[in-house]
Amino acid sequence: MNAPVRHEHSFAFSGEDDGIAPGETLLDIRDVTLSFGGVRAINHISFDVLKGEIRAIIGPNGAGKTSMLNVINGFYTPQEGKIIFRGKERKSMKPHEAVGQGIARTFQNVALFKGMSTLDNIMTGRSTRMKRNLFWQALWHGPALDEEIEHRERVEEIIDFLEIAHIRHTPVGKLPYGLQKRVELGRALAMQPSLLLLDEPMAGMNLEEKEDMSRFILDVNQQLGTTIALIEHDMGVVMDLSDRVVVLDYGRKIGDGTPDVVRNNKDVIDAYLGVAH
């Protein structure tokens, strides 16, 4: 199969205005500690994410990367430390409040709604923006339908961008894994986030799929200005895509900087080679 023809995509809608200028700190993790019972998943970690950058979080398995994402989007509340997002210190947050804050994420094991189509899955990403109440929904024609179509137009842009128009009505349970991950990305994009958290977006993909996904991620970052924090194991992807990298191991931070700096960091190399330290 030929590689799909890439065209420069421009979105009709822009990223959210979250009051932070490009280059300034969007997310500041300060001395955060997270424990489960006796296990310290995250041990006094600090790092920041600048607006407009792509920040990779890497590290061997079990290093605490997914837990870190879960902390960022409010699923877990750290026992110690501070999280400063968009300039404000964040107290503990309930999971469904993350979207309102401007944070969206994808999951390691694709967390799509298996009983719904691609279109419907991505439309759920617009849930916080759709307001028409029960009465109008019961009537359907009129304000409810208008709202539905208005948001459908947005979602179709995303579908177009991700090149999944041909499967928009397919139940996602029937899609191959790579396409499911793309749909999940689409759902996250539909939330128009300031900060997009991607948990191993390339996992289980072949080379061609990875290239597609990389280009999507870059486009989202460059065209919409969306800040992205992603967990990834593929070093090639990490080096190519990310502006800066933070390296975790056993719940601690062992490296922080541009890809080149991190690549040459002895601690990082040791961690990956499994050298005891």
């Binding site: 999971p95 029960l134 409810a144 137009e153 179709e156």
Partner: protein
């Protein structure tokens, strides 16, 4: 050949959202509506109305209510019978306290009581998940039936503990009670059921339906998309119980004419659940198919052996009925968990490409 969809393009999202993007489906619906509103009433006998047509409609409505809660929102409910009872008793009290109240209004209002009770028993759904939630609706089921019996005010202190539907007139015609003709009652029920079905279809096709399905499929992901699970589940309980309550009022007032507390006991809950399962969880139209099957089966089991000249005692027919339903449930779950609704979808897809095999 019948179902050629070629050439039917949709050139706007609005068209894509239409209920019947394919013209043939629209015609099919018109045919069905014509049969229901015109053909059947013309030909049906008294027996057919009372044993088939009216109960199918009432059960289908109850199943639509249950389906919204269990099929769309994923919250298992074993209390449907009791919630039907709430609707029925509420209607009875309204009619006896305000005899001038229009029956339509009374029925619409009684749904609200059911909705409130349903939402109350749905509150635990935030803490309790999955099977464990069945305990909440079971508690509702057993407690409410006990209440129907013990709280004599509900049945106006009658000695028998039963409620009797008085003759109720609307615009000069007796619509309910012993003197109401079956054809009047049929149209009354048909009007209610058609209207509520339309509303149910509308609600489930838009953002609320999506929110429910997300809650059902993966509630953690639903939260992270910004869905408030408590509101979503409570709304499902409320809407579902409203519809179930209305069906309960119709059940007593427009079909049976009288009721005792044990009418609303757990076998009723299961009967509606079977209709919802066999019809297809997560579908609205499927409930009609399920209701048709569940209501018609015992009737057929009595009639067919007679017609074939091999009459079987009605007790045996009843046992066979129960066995067949049990077997059907298993059959559907193995072969087509999405019920008769999906069967129809499959047939329809085959019709679209007929005479080609694929």
């Amino acid at each position: 050949m019948f179902y050629r969809t070629a050439g039917q393009y949709k050139s706007s999202y609005k068209a894509d959202h239409a209920l019947f993007p394919v013209k043939q489906d629209f015609w099919l619906l018109l045919v069905i509506l014509a049969i229901a509103w015109i053909v059947l009433p013309y030909f049906a006998t008294e027996f057919a109305f009372n044993a088939l047509l009216i109960p199918v409609l009432v059960y289908a409505l109850a199943a639509i209510g249950l389906n919204i809660l269990t099929g769309y929102a994923g919250q298992l409910s074993l209390g449907t019978g009791a919630f039907m009872g709430v609707g029925a008793y509420a209607c009875y009290k309204l009619i006896t306290i305000f005899p001038e109240l229009n029956l339509v209004v009374a029925i619409l209002l009684s749904g609200l009581f059911s909705a409130a009770v349903g939402a109350a028993f749905g509150l635990p759904s935030l803490r309790i998940k999955g099977f464990y939630l069945a305990i909440a609706t079971l508690a509702a089921q057993f407690f409410l039936v006990w209440l129907f019996e013990k709280w004599a005010w509900l049945y106006n202190y009658s000695n028998t503990g039963a409620i009797q539907v008085p003759n109720i007139d609307m615009f000069g015609i007796t619509v309910a009670g012993a003197q109401a003709s079956s054809i009047t009652r049929y149209y009354f029920v048909l009007a209610f059921v058609t209207l509520i079905t339309a509303v149910a279809i509308n609600i489930t096709r838009g953002r609320i339906g999506r929110i429910w399905k997300a809650t059902r499929d993966m509630d953690i992901a639903a939260e992270l998309v910004g869905i408030n699970l408590l509101k979503s589940k409570l709304l499902a309980f409320a809407v579902s119980s409203y519809i179930v309550g209305v069906s309960g009022a119709l059940f007593v007032f427009l079909w049976r004419g009288a009721a005792e507390p044990n009418l609303f006991d757990i076998p009723l809950s299961f009967r509606v659940l079977f209709i919802a399962i066999i019809g297809g969880l997560g579908s609205i139209m499927g409930n009609y198919l399920g209701a048709l099957l569940i209501v018609a089966l015992p009737v057929l089991l009595n009639i067919i052996p007679e017609m074939l000249g091999v009459p079987i005692p009605s007790a045996t027919a009843e046992h066979l009925n129960v066995m067949i339903i049990g077997a059907l449930i298993i059959f559907f779950l193995v072969v087509e968990p999405h019920g008769l609704a999906r069967f129809w979808q499959v047939i329809r897809e085959k019709l679209i490409i007929w005479p080609f095999p694929h």
